[in-house]
């Protein structure tokens, strides 16, 4: 996966996205806050949600407990 290294650590892009999601946040807000293009944010969100590190609800995203543990 592009967001998680083979050793289970986060990639820099994934770290950046997770750090912005400490509160419910939209794709556009993540892109602006993290300074990333929209396509890269969408790619990352898909993987981070599939990995259980982020949760999506009503088109907003927020970090899960699993995501917080990996971030720290």
């Amino acid at each position: 996966m592009a967001c998680i290294n083979p050793d289970g650590t986060l990639t820099p892009t994934a770290t950046l996205v997770l750090k912005t999601a400490h509160r419910p946040i939209t794709v556009e807000e993540i892109a602006q806050s993290a300074g990333l293009p929209l396509y890269q944010v969408r790619m990352s969100l898909r993987e981070l949600v599939a990995s259980g590190l982020l949760k999506e609800e009503n088109e907003t995203y927020f970090i899960t407990e699993k995501g917080k543990k990996l971030l720290h």
């Binding site: 996966m1 592009a2 967001c3 293009p37 929209l38 396509y39 890269q40 969408r42 790619m43 990352s44 898909r46 993987e47």
Partner: protein
Amino acid sequence: MSEELIPPKSVTLPRLNEPAPEFEAVTTHGTVRLSDYRDSWLILFSHPADFTPVCTTEFIAFAEIYPELQKRGVELLGLSVDSVYSHIAWVRNIEEKTGVKIPFPVIADLNKDVATLYGMIQPGASKTEAVRAVFVIDPKGILRAMIYYPLTAGRNMQEILRLVDSLQTSDKYQVATPANWKPGDKVIVPAPNTTETAEQRVKAGYECVDWYLCKKTLE
């Protein structure tokens, strides 16, 4: 014993002003979907093969215009039928040998799924490699322009930039652009389509050759 025949993939050609065909593909930046690019302009382009000379000059040239494309809200997405490992090795080699970093993702279309969907495989040119195709897709996912170049001719980046400028100008001002247009030049006022508006057109004060060919300067 009968053999099971695998039916050939349908060859399709995308069409202008219709939704660009959706896909999901492995790239050097991870798995991407065309829909990830909504709300941005996108230039999807193909090259025949990694580690080949013309393609390398094109990748360098695309990287060099990337900042100008970003100013225009345009992203780049490359494609060839090589593997992602070949792509990674090649872009690292380009950076090592020339100092040019390739900032955009490159699709590894090993199964030729995207190449087939976009008519990038043209058997008269090559049965296995993509030709040099360029697709300009707008923020709503509509295909707005396409270029197909042969294996032997590297593409012109200034023309690609000019094409993007033309499309964005047309969208913003509801005008067309004449031959050899570049930003700052006069644009074409859309031709009238009734006798009444044709009559009004010649009196409207535009610079006209005749009722059907009128230009104006954008403010």
